[in-house]
């Protein structure tokens, strides 16, 4: 029977092509606008590492004094000396300290490859296991390499393509500033969205181009101000790098993976103990206030999903409702024009439910076609957004399968919801009064 209704729906839409086109376009424009803004907002608020986000915590310590440390919010960075102490713990499954620098990178002997100044993520060896990075070639560096501040690097796929033409470059060397570094691994495409582990304002920018051990940064006294969020509430003793490292400047981001509640409680006790020990040495004078912030909470606290994007979604939804209300008036007109057919069908035996089913199928066809066209409009909208906001991660402007299906479903359901009144109105028509209008 449904195939019969489908056939009738196509005939009916063909009978009034302009009206059908208007209805489809109306739905498509509303859906296109809504899904363009929703896609950006949805991709922003997606769980970047769903299988373990509940086990990842950012460590925040209140190492400030009573003047600076009176607020409830703590910086999302900690000092280098605390970092060193925390790295001693064996409670977390994995623990990662990270920062970033910028360096001039070049090929060792191929002059055709023009040197580039690239962003370098400096981190500890657990980084690759904790964040489950996919490797194309090789692997991350060992704990020992990390401790020894080895001059090794893991390249992003893009950097490997640029520097080594995409070949397996493990074991090969390249120029890292004035030094020579050896490639130990090459990542496959890896673009977690949002890029949760770094600075909040970088969450939607492109990932860093290569990775080197954190200790290598320290040993070589590399530091790039603009790539670090540093809270220096007390001046260093002097301008030397060594003084900077022992200062109260908070600039290292620290993540731990705690698989269960027991590990969480143990680690909380560990960092509190560390704070107490430091207190006895004259630090942490304000209070013992240390937080293990769950990944998802961190994204909320740091407003990684902007309020503007949520507002844009609401405005787009209102726009969709206006489009659907317009569509609804067209549906009323369309079904009114079919009063004669309704009367006839009722006379020859169609029940009210039969009429409802027939028109619901017709609206479903309109909704699905509107949804598909809306999908096209949304893709165009996202393409325009991608070009306008080229500095943002392109993944933000891409629909995943759920969103693609969701778009068509939204169009279908909203057309049916807004078509409910016109359909019921049509089915309630007194058949005898409509028979003369066919």
């Amino acid at each position: 029977m449904y195939s019969y209704y489908f056939k009738l729906a196509l005939l009916s839409l063909r009978k009034t092509p302009l009206l059908s086109l208007l209805m489809v376009t109306m739905i498509a424009i509303g859906i296109g606008a809504t899904m363009t803004t929703y896609t950006v907002s949805y991709m922003m608020s997606k769980d970047p590492i769903p299988n373990k986000s509940a086990q990842l915590f950012q460590v925040q310590l209140d190492s400030m004094d009573e003047i600076y440390g009176d607020g409830k919010d703590l910086p999302y960075t900690i000092t280098y000396q605390d970092t060193q102490a925390l790295l001693e713990s064996d409670i977390p499954k994995y623990q990662v300290a990270l920062s970033a620098i910028q360096k001039k990178i070049s090929h060792e002997n191929n002059a055709h490859i023009i040197p580039k100044s690239l962003k370098v993520r400096t981190t500890t060896s657990d980084f690759f296991s904790m964040f489950e990075t996919p490797f194309l070639y090789g692997s991350g560096w060992s704990k020992q390499d990390g401790k020894d501040a080895a001059q090794v690097a893991v390249l992003s796929k893009e950097t490997n393509n640029w520097l080594f033409d995409g070949e397996n470059s493990v074991g090969k060397t390249f120029r890292f500033g004035a030094d020579t570094y050896q490639v130990i691994g090459v990542l496959n495409s890896w673009e977690p969205l949002p890029r949760f582990y770094g600075l909040p304002h970088e969450a939607y920018t492109k990932p860093h181009d290569l990775f080197i051990p954190f200790n290598t940064q320290i040993k070589n006294e590399f530091f790039t101000d603009k790539l670090v969020s540093s809270t220096c509430w007390q001046e260093s003793a002097d301008d030397s790098f060594a003084s900077f490292l022992t200062s109260e400047c908070m600039w290292v981001i620290f993540w731990v993976e705690l698989p269960d509640k027991q590990a969480h409680d143990q680690y909380q006790a560990f960092i509190d103990n560390h704070a107490k020990e430091q207190q006895s040495l004259g630090r942490f004078t304000n209070r013992i206030y240390n937080k293990l912030v769950p990944l998802k909470q961190y994204l909320i606290d740091e407003k990684v999903v902007s309020d503007d994007s949520k507002m844009a979604v609401w405005l787009a939804v209102l726009f969709l409702i206006v489009c659907l209300l317009n569509c609804m008036s067209l549906m009323i007109a369309k079904f009114h024009a079919k009063a004669g057919e309704v009367g006839l069908r009722r006379a020859v035996g169609a029940s009210k439910q039969d009429i409802i089913k027939q028109f619901a199928i017709e609206l479903s066809v309109v909704g699905v076609v509107g949804g598909l066209l809306g999908l096209l409009f949304a893709q165009l909208g996202l393409l325009a957004a991608k070009q306008t906001y080229s500095y943002l991660h392109s993944g933000l402007m891409q629909m995943n399968l759920q969103l693609l299906i969701g778009t068509v479903l939204l169009a279908l359901i909203s057309s049916l919801v807004f078509g409910l009144y016109p359909i019921i109105r049509a089915s309630q028509m007194q058949p005898s009064s409509q028979l003369k209008s066919l």
Binding site: E341, V348, S432
Partner: protein
């Protein structure tokens, strides 16, 4: 088959009550051919709509096949219209965008027939009205008389017990009208009851029985037959 007792119909619009049909009694047996005559606005169509379960009566009893229709749900009324009643209208009421085959198929679609059964019934009905060869044509490609034949095919495809025809020849010339009347008589001869509303006394006289409606009063007297004759 059809029994109306003390049945009446009143319309209430803006607090004004209009008595469309005054209380009347009428019984029509299976296989009868009854004409309903009367001037325009006398209540003939209202009577036919009530008989065809398209409108509800206000008062009295209406039994179809021994069942009180006042107790029917909308779904049951639809099923009755589909299985027991065939409609033929003055303006044919064919769906222009469907071909003849699909027009005749319409009532069968609301019945749980297999597609083979539907095909058999559609072709039989079209053959009976002499249009099987034009099953793929559209209503606009046919003359008025042919269109009414399609409407009759649609009415008989479901093998109803009664056909309600509302001025079936009203839009046709006399030659075409004659053809339609002969078709209706053939259908009646095969056992289907026919209740036909008409203006035309000559056609009315071809029925076995004539019922007259005047100003909402229905009279079912043998004298009418004589008067018309």
């Amino acid at each position: 088959m059809l029994k109306m007792k003390n049945l009446s119909k009143a319309f209430l619009t803006d607090a004004i009550k209009t008595q469309a049909l005054h209380p009347f009694d009428l019984t029509i047996e299976q296989g009868e051919f009854v004409s309903v005559i009367g001037p325009s606005g006398s209540g003939k169509t209202t009577f036919l709509n009530i008989a065809g379960l398209l409108e509800e009566h206000s008062d009295g009893l209406y039994e179809l096949d021994g069942q009180d229709v006042a107790q029917f749900t909308d779904k049951k009324k639809s099923a009755y219209r589909n299985e027991k009643i065939g409609f033929v209208f003055q303006s044919f009421n064919l769906i222009p965008e469907l071909n003849l085959y699909d027009n005749v198929d319409m009532p069968l679609r609301y019945r749980k027939f297999s597609s083979n059964e539907r095909h058999k019934r559609i072709m039989q009905a079209l053959e009976q009205v002499g249009l099987a060869g034009r099953k793929d044509h559209y209503p606009t490609q046919l003359s008025g008389g042919q269109q009414q034949r399609v409407a009759i095919a649609r009415a008989i495809a479901g093998t109803p017990s009664v056909i309600l025809a509302d001025e079936p020849t009203g839009n046709l010339d006399s030659k075409m009208a004659e053809g339609i009347m002969s078709l209706l008589k053939d259908i009646n001869a095969a056992g289907t009851s026919i209740i036909m509303v008409t203006h035309d006394n000559e056609q009315a006289a071809q029925a076995q029985r004539i019922v007259q409606i005047k100003d909402g009063h229905l009279s079912d007297s043998p004298n009418i037959q004589k008067e018309i004759a």
